[in-house]
C-alpha cells in the first residue's frame, strides 16, 4: 500500500541517521547476504549482523533449537566467523546496500570487547556498534556483563573509547530484576543508545526421554511469546534514560512495531519473524507508513512516545533529541 503523501520515516539514533526505524535483530539475519535473495536490503533502516567475537566461535552442540508456544528457544552459543573474517569477507558485500550496517559485538572479557570494537572502528563501512552484554547461551561474557550495573557500565565505557567516533548501542538482557538501573548505568557510561530485549532464558524437556530439548539444557526464548515483556521493559527503559531506546522482542507485524514506537522506542528490531518470512521487514516498513498515512502523520517521530496513559504520568512525551 502506497501512502498518498510522502511520509518521513527517518529517525536518529544518536549520531546515526536511519531512513526508517526498522532494523534486523542480531543473530536473526546472518551477515545480511543470506537474506539478499529474498529481501531488498536497500529498504532497511539498518542491518545488525550476527554477534562478532575476536576469534571465530564454533557455537554449542546440537540440538540448538526447540519451538515452544508462540516462540522458540535457541542455544546457538554465538557461533560466528570472527571479526577479522567478517571485515574481510562479509562487510564488502553489505556495503553495496544503501542501509546502515551495525556490527553486534561480543567478548569473553572486557578487553576482548575493546579489541573487537577497535577493529570495527577502523574498518570502513560500519556505521555503529551494538554491544551484546546479554547473550544467555555462553558461559563467559555475554549476560555476565549485562546483569550487573557496574559490569555493564565498565564494558560500555571501554567500547565507547575503543569505538572512536562510532555510535555505540548497548543491548540489554531482560533477565534482571531492575532494568531501569542497568539502563541508567549504561547511559552514564556513555552509551549513545540502548536496545532491548535480548532473549529470556528458558527451558524445554522431552518428557518421553526425560532429556532437555536443547543440548545446552537452557536457551534463549524469542518470538511473539516475549513481546509483552519486551514492550513493558522498553516502556520502563524509555522513562529511565534520555538516550534513544530501540525496541526488540517478538515483533512480527507493523502493528507490533508500532506498539514499541508508541511507548517510546526510537526504532525497532525484527528478529525471529525473519526466520518465518524472509521479507517480513519489507511488510513492516510498508505497514508503518500506511498507519502513519491513515493517522495523518507526516513523520514517524510524531508517534514515537505518544502513548496516552490515563491517570499516569506521560510515558515518553515525544521524541527526545
Amino acid at each position: 500500500m502506497k501512502p498518498s503523501k510522502p511520509i518521513d520515516l527517518g529517525v536518529r539514533i544518536g549520531g546515526l541517521v536511519l531512513k526508517n526505524p526498522v532494523m534486523t535483530a542480531s543473530g536473526t539475519f546472518g551477515y545480511g547476504e543470506e537474506f539478499a535473495p529474498y529481501s531488498d536490503l536497500n529498504r532497511l533502516g539498518a542491518v545488525i549482523v550476527k554477534g562478532l567475537s575476536l576469534e571465530p566461535r564454533g557455537g554449542n552442540p546440537p540440538p540448538r533449537m526447540m519451538e515452544t508456544p508462540s516462540g522458540m528457544l535457541n542455544a546457538v552459543g554465538l557461533q560466528n566467523i570472527g571479526v577479522r573474517t567478517f571485515i574481510r569477507e562479509k562487510l564488502p558485500f553489505l556495503r553495496r546496500f544503501d542501509c546502515a550496517i551495525i556490527a553486534n559485538i561480543y567478548g569473553e572479557t572486557p578487553e576482548e570487547y575493546e579489541r573487537v570494537a577497535g577493529l570495527l572502528s577502523r574498518a570502513s563501512g560500519v556505521d555503529a556498534l551494538e554491544v551484546n552484554i546479554s547473550c544467555p547461551n555462553v558461559r563467559r561474557g555475554g549476560i555476565a556483563f549485562g546483569a550487573q550495573p557496574d559490569a555493564a557500565a565498565d564494558v560500555t565505557r571501554r567500547v565507547k573509547t575503543a569505538a572512536a567516533a562510532l555510535p555505540v548501542m548497548v543491548k540489554l538482557t531482560p533477565n534482571v530484576t531492575d532494568i531501569a538501573g542497568i539502563a541508567r548505568a549504561v547511559e552514564e557510561a556513555g552509551a549513545d543508545a540502548i536496545s532491548l530485549i535480548n532473549t529470556l532464558t528458558g527451558m524445554s524437556v522431552d518428557v518421553e526421554k526425560r532429556i532437555p530439548h536443547l543440548a545446552n539444557v537452557t536457551g534463549g526464548l524469542s518470538g511473539p511469546a516475549i513481546r509483552p515483556v519486551a514492550l513493558r521493559m522498553v516502556w520502563q527503559a524509555v522513562q529511565a534514560v534520555s538516550i534513544p531506546v530501540v525496541g526488540v522482542g517478538g515483533i512480527m507485524t507493523a502493528r507490533d512495531a508500532l506498539e514499541f514506537l508508541i511507548v517510546g522506542a526510537r526504532a525497532v528490531q525484527v528478529g525471529t519473524a525473519n526466520f518465518i518470512r524472509p521479507a517480513v521487514t519489507m511488510e513492516i516498513i510498508d505497514g508503518i507508513a500506511a498507519y502513519l498515512a491513515r493517522h495523518g502523520c507526516g513523520s514517524v517521530t510524531e508517534i514515537i512516545g505518544s502513548l496516552k496513559t490515563p491517570g499516569a504520568e506521560p510515558a515518553g512525551g515525544g521524541e527526545r533529541t
Partner: protein, 285 residues
C-alpha cells in the same frame, strides 16, 4: 534486487497413507525452481499462527511445466507442526520456501547407485532414483529399504519399479528379512564394487551411524541426507548445526540447511557431544 521469494502454494491433495503417514501434493508458481533430489522446502500453512516456524520436508516428487510446478511431500506426523500439515485440505494455501540446500550428486564413474532408505528416508531417495533413470549414465539402482514393520514401508509401490534390485528388511520381520536394514546391507556389502558403486542413504541417525561404522574400513563412497531442527532454512539462524571433521581432524559445525542436508558420510562426526538420537529422515516435529 530480490531474486527469490516465498512461493504461495495451493494444496492439490493431502492423502493419509496410514494414520501417521501423509502424501501432500501442492501446486506452485513457475518461479519454483526444478529441485535436485535431496533438496527440501520449508513449508507452513498460509496466514501464520501456531506453530510459528515452517517445517523442513525433503522433496518426494516434482513435475515442472510452463504454468508452474507440482510437488509432492511425504511426511509422518511427529509433532504439532506435522499434525497441522496433516489437517490441510485441497485448495488450502501454504507458504513454501525452496528448493533449499544441497542434494545428492552422482559421481562421473558411478554405474551402480546403492540407495539405503530407513523409514521416511525413502522420500528423497525415491526422487533420486527417478532422476537417475532419466540420466545419460542410467546407473543400475540397487535399493535397501528398511522400516519397523510392513506398514511403515511407505512409498514401496513407487520405489519398487525404479530399482533393478530391492532388498527389504523390517524390524518385526513382517516383510522381507527380519532385522535392521544396515545388517542386511552389511551381509551383501561385498556385492558392491567400490570402483563403480556409490551409496546414498537417508534415515534415522542410528541407521546412519551404523552405516558409518560399516563403511569405515571400505572405500565405498557414501552421501547421506541429514536432519536437524531448523528455524529459517536459509543459513541464518545457525540452529541446524551438525558436527563434521575438518581435514586437519578438528571438529566444526556445518549448517544442515545450506551446507547440507546431503553430506559425505565420512565427514560427519558421531561422537560429538550431541544427542544424535532423532531421525534424520524427512520427519520433523
Amino acid at each position: 534486487m530480490k531474486s527469490k521469494e516465498m512461493a504461495p502454494g495451493a494444496v492439490l491433495s493431502n492423502r493419509a497413507l496410514t494414520p501417521q503417514h501423509f502424501l501432500l501434493a501442492l501446486s506452485l508458481p513457475p518461479a519454483f525452481a526444478r529441485p535436485a533430489p535431496g533438496q527440501f522446502v520449508m513449508i507452513r500453512p498460509a496466514g501464520g499462527g501456531t506453530p510459528l516456524l515452517a517445517r523442513p520436508l525433503s522433496l518426494y516428487g516434482h513435475r515442472g511445466g510452463r504454468n508452474g510446478s507440482r510437488i509432492e511431500l511425504l511426511y509422518r506426523t511427529v509433532g504439532a507442526g506435522t499434525r497441522q500439515l496433516a489437517a490441510l485440505k485441497a485448495r488450502d494455501a501454504v507458504e513454501i520456501l525452496g528448493p533449499l540446500g544441497r542434494g545428492f550428486i552422482l559421481g562421473p564413474d558411478v554405474d551402480e547407485a546403492v540407495l539405503i532408505c530407513g523409514g521416511m528416508g525413502v522420500a528423497p531417495l525415491t526422487l533420486f532414483a527417478e532422476r537417475l533413470g532419466r540420466t545419460k549414465a542410467r546407473p543400475r539402482v540397487v535399493c535397501y529399504f528398511g522400516a519397523r514393520s510392513r506398514d511403515d514401508l511407505i512409498g514401496l509401490d513407487r520405489l519398487s519399479p525404479l530399482c533393478a534390485e530391492l532388498h527389504i528388511a523390517t524390524e518385526d520381520g513382517s516383510r522381507g528379512e527380519r532385522g535392521l536394514i544396515t545388517d542386511l546391507f552389511a551381509a551383501r556389502m561385498r556385492c558392491h564394487d567400490p570402483r563403480r558403486a556409490a551409496v546414498f542413504a537417508c534415515g534415522p541417525n542410528p541407521m546412519l551411524q551404523a552405516l558409518s561404522r560399516l563403511l569405515a574400513g571400505t572405500s565405498l563412497h557414501c552421501q547421506v541426507s541429514v536432519e536437524e531442527r531448523m528455524a529459517c532454512g536459509i543459513g541464518a539462524c545457525l540452529c541446524c548445526a551438525t558436527a563434521v571433521a575438518l581435514p586437519g581432524g578438528q571438529a566444526s559445525y556445518r549448517r544442515v540447511c545450506c551446507d547440507g542436508p546431503v553430506f559425505n558420510l565420512r565427514d560427519l562426526l558421531w561422537d560429538a557431544p550431541s544427542a544424535r538420537s532423532g531421525s534424520r529422515g524427512c520427519t520433523s516435529p
